[in-house]
């Protein structure tokens, strides 16, 4: 059984947020919901008033702050779920059975990383509202883009079941009242592919692989570089490793 881990190299991340957008496109996330986030965070004291940073690349005084489900080995969300809708697979993925979740949000209270997101209203409605708002403020008429299909909706249209449990479906096709989160693209992993955010990363800052295979890229990197995991003292045993930014401008050192 493989032991999947993800490495996020903050020295390589440019903060372009392609991973966020690709994830939203593939998983059909409505506006306002992201399963992974990247915030390009300035460091106090070095930033000028107009929030523009100084310094020569790659020695910048800003750091990208990523957030993504850690697929913990000791996941509090799995322990607290009263109905067992959240569960951990043998290869390490923490998944949610969308058909069993009762929407009590205990898992969101338990998760110290804040990666879970609840569907507070029907995702389809959120999208419609957002489109309506954009149209009213946009001088260009909607539908002018002749390339787009009029009823095109983004998001992977195929749903995926893991041993009969619905663990992947375009969120735009889900109804409100359940909790969703990053699945590490379970349907791609089961086909031998990598998660979408890893595939699209322009700087190859996100690396995904099997830690049990000593020749895999993740094993090689983790044996060479210092990597940290978030909130290790809690004992959640996260599977996402961060390589902290080391390229700081000279003034910071």
């Amino acid at each position: 059984m493989p032991r999947y881990v993800m490495i996020i190299d903050l020295n390589k991340c440019t903060g372009c947020r392609t991973c966020m957008v690709a994830c939203a496109m593939k998983n059909g996330l409505p506006p306002g919901i992201f399963w992974t986030t990247v915030e390009w965070t300035p460091i106090a004291g070095v930033i000028q008033a107009d929030r523009r940073s100084t310094g020569n690349y790659p020695y910048t005084p800003m750091t990208p702050v990523h957030n993504i489900c850690n697929h913990c080995d000791n996941p509090p969300c799995v322990k607290v779920c009263p109905v067992g809708a959240t569960y951990k697979r043998e290869d390490g993925l923490v998944l949610i059975d969308y058909e069993r979740c009762i929407g009590c949000r205990y898992c969101m209270s338990a998760c110290p990383y804040g990666v879970r997101t609840f569907l507070w209203e029907d995702p389809e409605k959120t999208l419609e509202d957002a489109i309506r708002r954009t149209r009213s403020s946009n001088p260009y008429k909607a539908g002018e883009n002749k390339m787009a299909e009029p009823d095109y909706v983004y998001g992977d249209p195929v749903e995926y079941r893991d041993k009969g449990r619905l663990v992947h479906k375009s969120v735009l096709r889900l109804k409100r009242g359940i909790v969703t989160k990053c699945t590490w693209c379970v349907e791609r992993i089961d086909k031998g592919l990598k998660p979408v955010c890893v595939e699209v990363c322009v700087g190859r800052a996100r690396i995904f692989g099997d830690l049990d295979d000593p020749n895999s890229e993740v094993s090689q990197i983790l044996s060479r570089k210092n990597a940290v995991r978030r909130l290790e003292h809690l004992g959640t045993e996260p599977r996402v490793y961060y390589i902290p930014k080391t390229n700081w401008p000279k003034v910071l050192e």
Partner: protein, 407 residues
Amino acid sequence: MSHVVKMFRPKEMIFLGLLLILAVIGIVAWIYQLMQGLIVTNMRNIFPWGLYIATFAFLVGTAAGGLIVSSSIYLFNVRELKPIASLASLTAFVFVLGAMAMVIPDLGRPERILNILLYPNFSSLLVWDFIVLTAYAILSLAHVYIGWRPYAARLRQLSEDKIAELETRSFRWGRILAPISLPFAVLIHTVTAWIFAVNAGRPWWFGGFLAPSFLAAALVSGSAVVILASIAIYGFKEDLRHTYNIMMKFLATSTAVLLFLVYQDYFVRWWWGGDEGQILSILFNRLWLTTLIGEFALLFTTIIIAIKLKTSLGAVLSSVLALLGVYAHRFNLMEPSYNVLINKILLPSSESTIPVPIVLGDMKHSYWLLTFWPYTPSPIEIMITIGWLSGIMLILYVLAKLLFSRR
């Protein structure tokens, strides 16, 4: 049916009518929430539990009355509480069911609630809370029944011998049940506290402090509910004066214990500072109304009134203030927990840390990635909560009147 209606005086009818209207408003608000989704609340991803769960914790506490009274009678031999024992068990029964009902509007998919029975995950304390609450409801119902038997016999004007026999039997059963229900009564508060206290990711909740403080808060609100219910049903009669005195003494003592527990905890957190200090700053700045006025001032006044003013006014006033104070205390359960994020990154320049922001979960606001959510309950949340509380009071009042109105 008409004799049932005749039991209520016109003033009572107005009061019950008002409760009914509020309950109906609450149900209408819930239907609106079911149609729109939980977007109509002010809870968001960063703040997933709000007024509903705070009220749930409060209602579990108010169910403590049955325990206090019946265990005092049968285990500590405080005979003076016997006249209000059945009523106290009835408050426990109604409030424990009310607490369970309070969780329903909080669920995103209430129609799937049976999944808790179909696929229970026994490592989740929510499941264990469901189990102990159900057990406590059954035990309270048993207490109500054994207390009601001799009462009903007297109403039907059975012979004195028969009534005396039923009363002995009722006492015997009470003494058998009390040692069983006492651990369950302690457990409902402990397990409810554990729902929160097991989360190491939330410094405001985590640890062994929460369960004792829940128990103290339950003793305060439980005794206050019993005092109010007894005054509403039996009045502040001369032959009950001693009973009320004992209950008010109990109320004052447990309020003092609660305040002590809460403030010794504040001191420890304030001394350490850091995240713990941030909790204190949220409590005393953003939540000053519930912390200083609600929790401290009201509970402190409760102690003074319950000790000094041993009249019907004093009993009502101290109980109402105690309930408001404990409710404010319960409201404080949420915010310092969610708005202190421990997932942080260390910045090299200043040794300072910044929290990793969380996706808000809606598009109503221009910002969507944030570390702090200024939660105040939305009008719908308030309407549903008031509706549920009114419904519980209505059911309790009518049941108490029907079952135990004459002694």
